[in-house]
Amino acid sequence: MFTLNMLAPGQSAEVVCVSGADSISSRLREMGFVPGEAVRLLRLAPLGDPLKCMIHGSRIALRNREAQRVVVSPQ
């Protein structure tokens, strides 16, 4: 399973799904991590966590722990 945090900076992917049924997963889905959406990893914070990605034309910072819930298929 390939997840958002495994992408290289600059790499684009398509969201497959967000795993989990708790409020963190709901929040991610509400923020636009829904199947078919294009996402691009922009960069990592200086200490390697969190990461910054681009989705729906806006930049979102996520911790690795949250990014692991976002299953993607790299392009």
Partner: protein
């Protein structure tokens, strides 16, 4: 003509320029307060309109209407009109960002589903235009079935059209047919659950059946959410069972409910944008990409961050000195004026020491609060704050906090009062409470006089480590570190005990950079200062009066007042003057010892003896409850030097060194000085901080808990310091 009042509620995602629009519509006529029982701020403004007064309510920015905490539930309650003491809104204005329309329409879909009278405002149309993104608002309005107005709040473009549109929407009162973006099966099952709840329980969430149904739909969608909790609280186990059965039905028919909801809403959003967005245009903002490559750079990013923090810290510390000195001298001038008019007596003491001293004690914080909020507002409006949180999140997450806690803690080194107020940027309530709780452990500037006095008086001026560092400097540094080292395990423990909960995720939008809007910044600074002075200030003032009374009563002050009159009329260089002054100092010291405060000092002496303290230090510690630095003036009074001494006063240092126990042994030695300093490093002797905590958490629980916790720590910390120190 009868003036009727209408209610307009402003909602929108964060970073849509909602507060800029709120400012543009309502000017500065804003009332702020808290909603009953929660920490979120309620902002109400007025909108000028010829036919009726319009009350404009600004809700905190939100991505969705699914309430996960009592704070978020307030937004839903206000929108649906079921909140206690809140009227049903006549119109909801949803602000969307023209450059992130698809995601912003998620919230619009929830509002359209609610079926409230709605107006959609496409803000930042200028930013979209500069990137060749075109938005066809007429088509969007036709698709959505509600009016759509394009504006640029920061450039004040389209504000008049918006005013007219609001007026039109309020007068025409056309009903809006609710949409149903989710699969039909969802609404069928929801309706059935609603009927069951109505027939089997006494549940009424709202007067309108449409709102009632909407809230039940939300309860089904958000398992363990705040709507469900409210229903269960009102109607008990029976309602819980009905909801759970309904949810199981939904899951069987549709699958993972939240997934279905989000997919359906984004599909709806795509449908709404058909024919709305033109071809071409750049998705990404070049300036933001460029600035981010520097400001969030692995090396430069951290350096710039450290530099900015240093600048803010330094300015709160140094630049506020001038206005603070001005406030102090104004206070001194006023006191002098009163003293020249009023004869010495209880009234004069009340006015000068109680009232003017109390008001001054409140106003003295205003420059620091104003400066901190000026910086915060500039960085926030520019878009840097989210980046700062991004940079330091990793470090703060080790403590169970997030990157957003860094700045409030940092500014607490200058003063915990603005620091606690700055925690408003932290949305997660548990993180926010933990940050508020540990903020007073950061050594603020009020502790510095206490440290300086005791270090200069008792720590020898020797240098250590080959002459580079002075021992005094090391002790001072150690005092700053004591607070930090206690704060770390405190935050860690809090997040694992009282504030335990699902670890808060960091899902943070990094907005595009833009020029700060001076009107928004001005309003933020003004609001912060006003809120402090009015709501915390009155209580700080009251506490000052109480301490004044405890130190003044019940002694007979006639000789003291007589002496004060004599000194004022005496010639400046007469020998008699010196005698009178000495007698006055002795008299003031005696009166303080006999006052309620002094008596209390004697009562607690056995309790503070293990700390190496005598009753005088005990009195100092109690009298410094309004503010730590008061201990110096109190010690000055107890040692009969008059209250007008500061930490560089040689007489006070000599008096401390000469002070003895009844058996003749000196009271002060290095362990005692360290024990006092450790006590002041850890104690909660600052009524302003406690009252700001009360204001910000909207309950007495946290300040009381904080006071007990910090005082206990301070007591045992001081005892440990003294007992260990005496073994060497």
């Amino acid at each position: 003509m009868v003036q009727t009042s209408r209610r307009v509620v402003l909602v929108g995602n964060p970073n849509t320029g909602k507060s800029t629009l709120f400012g543009a519509l309502s000017g500065v006529s804003v009332r702020t307060g808290n909603y009953a029982g929660v920490t979120i701020e309620k902002k109400v403004g007025r909108l000028a309109d010829s036919d009726f007064t319009v009350e404009l309510v600004d809700l905190p920015g939100t991505y969705s209407l699914s309430p996960r905490s009592p704070d978020e539930f307030v937004a839903v309650e206000v929108l649906t009109g079921v909140a206690v003491g809140e009227a049903v809104p006549d119109l909801v204005v949803c602000v969307v960002n023209a450059t992130v329309l698809r995601r912003n329409l998620f919230l619009v879909s929830q509002l359209r589903e609610l079926g409230c009278p709605l107006l959609v405002v496409v803000n930042m149309i200028d930013a979209a235009r500069s990137r060749d993104l075109s938005v066809d608002c007429e088509t969007l309005a036709a698709n959505l079935g509600v009016p759509v107005i394009a504006i640029s709040a920061s450039k004040r473009e389209g504000i008049e059209q918006l005013r007219l549109a609001i007026h039109e929407a309020l007068t025409s009162a056309t009903s809006v047919e609710p949409i149903r973006p989710l699969p039909a099966a969802f609404y069928e099952i929801s309706a059935r659950v609603s009927k069951q709840l109505a027939s089997q329980t006494n549940l009424t969430l709202a007067k309108e059946s449409r709102v009632n149904l909407y809230l039940i739909e939300r309860a089904l969608l958000d398992a363990c959410g705040e709507t469900e909790k409210t229903i269960i609280r009102r109607s008990g186990e029976r309602a819980k069972l009905i909801l759970e059965t309904g949810r199981a039905d939904l899951k069987r028919t549709l699958g993972e409910l939240n997934e279905i909801e989000c997919q359906s809403r984004y599909a709806w959003s795509r449908q709404m944008l058909e024919g709305v967005l033109g071809d071409g245009g750049r998705e990404s903002h070049r300036v933001t990409d460029w600035l981010d490559s520097i400001l969030t750079h692995r090396v430069f990013g951290l350096f710039i961050f450290a530099g900015l923090m240093l600048l803010i810290f330094q300015s709160i510390y140094a630049w506020s000195g001038i206005p603070m000195a001005a406030i102090e001298s104004a206070q001194g001038y006023l006191s002098g004026l009163i003293e020249s008019v009023l004869a010495p007596g209880i009234l004069r003491s009340l006015v000068v020491d109680g009232i003017i001293g109390g008001v001054g004690g409140v106003l003295i914080f205003v420059p620091q609060i104003g400066l901190l909020f000026l910086f915060l507002a500039i960085l926030e409006d520019f878009g840097y704050m989210a980046r700062a949180a991004f940079l330091v999140d990793r470090i703060m997450s080790l403590l169970g906090l997030s990157g957003k806690s860094f700045l409030p803690l940092m500014s607490s080194f200058a003063c915990a009062v603005p620091g606690v107020m700055a925690t408003r940027v932290i949305e997660n309530p548990r993180d926010r409470l933990a940050t508020i709780f540990v903020a007073p452990f950061m050594s603020c500037s009020a502790r510095l006089p206490v440290y300086l006095l005791l270090i200069t008086a008792f720590v020898p001026a020797t240098s250590v480590i080959g002459g580079f560092v002075s021992l005094r400097g090391l002790v001072l540094l150690a005092m700053y570190l004591v607070g930090v080292f206690v704060a770390i395990p405190t935050a860690w423990l809090l997040k694992r005990t009282v504030l335990r909960g699902e670890s808060s995720p960091l899902v943070l939008e990094l907005p595009e950079y833009k020029w700060p809007d001076w009107r928004v910044i001005g309003l933020r600074v003004y609001e912060a200062c006003k809120a402090f002075v009015i709501r915390a200030g009155t209580l700080i003032f009251a506490a000052s009066i109480v301490i004044w009374a405890a130190g003044y009563l019940p002694g007979n002050h006639s000789r003291q007042h007589e002496l004060q009159t004599l000194i004022k009329t005496a010639e400046s260089d007469s020998a008699q003057l010196v005698i009178w002054q000495t007698e006055l100092q002795g008299e003031s010291g005696r009166l303080l010892e006999e006052s309620f405060l002094g008596q209390l000092g004697h009562v607690i002496e056995p309790a503070v003896k293990p700390l190496g303290w005598d009753w005088r230090i005990g009195v100092g510690a109690i009298a410094s409850f309004p503010a730590r630095e008061v201990i110096i003036a109190t010690l000055g009074t107890v040692y009969s030097l008059g209250g007008d001494v500061d930490e560089e006063n040689e007489g006070l240092m000599d008096a401390l060194r000469a002070s003895t126990w009844p058996d003749g042994t000196p009271v002060y030695n290095i362990p005692v000085a360290l024990s006092i300093m450790v006590f002041f490093a850890l104690c909660a002797q600052c009524v302003s901080t406690l009252l700001v905590m009360k204001r910000e958490t909207n309950s007495w629980r946290w300040p009381i808990f904080s006071f007990v916790y910090m005082t206990t720590l301070a007591y045992f910390g001081a005892m440990l310091t003294y007992q260990i120190g005496m073994r060497f």
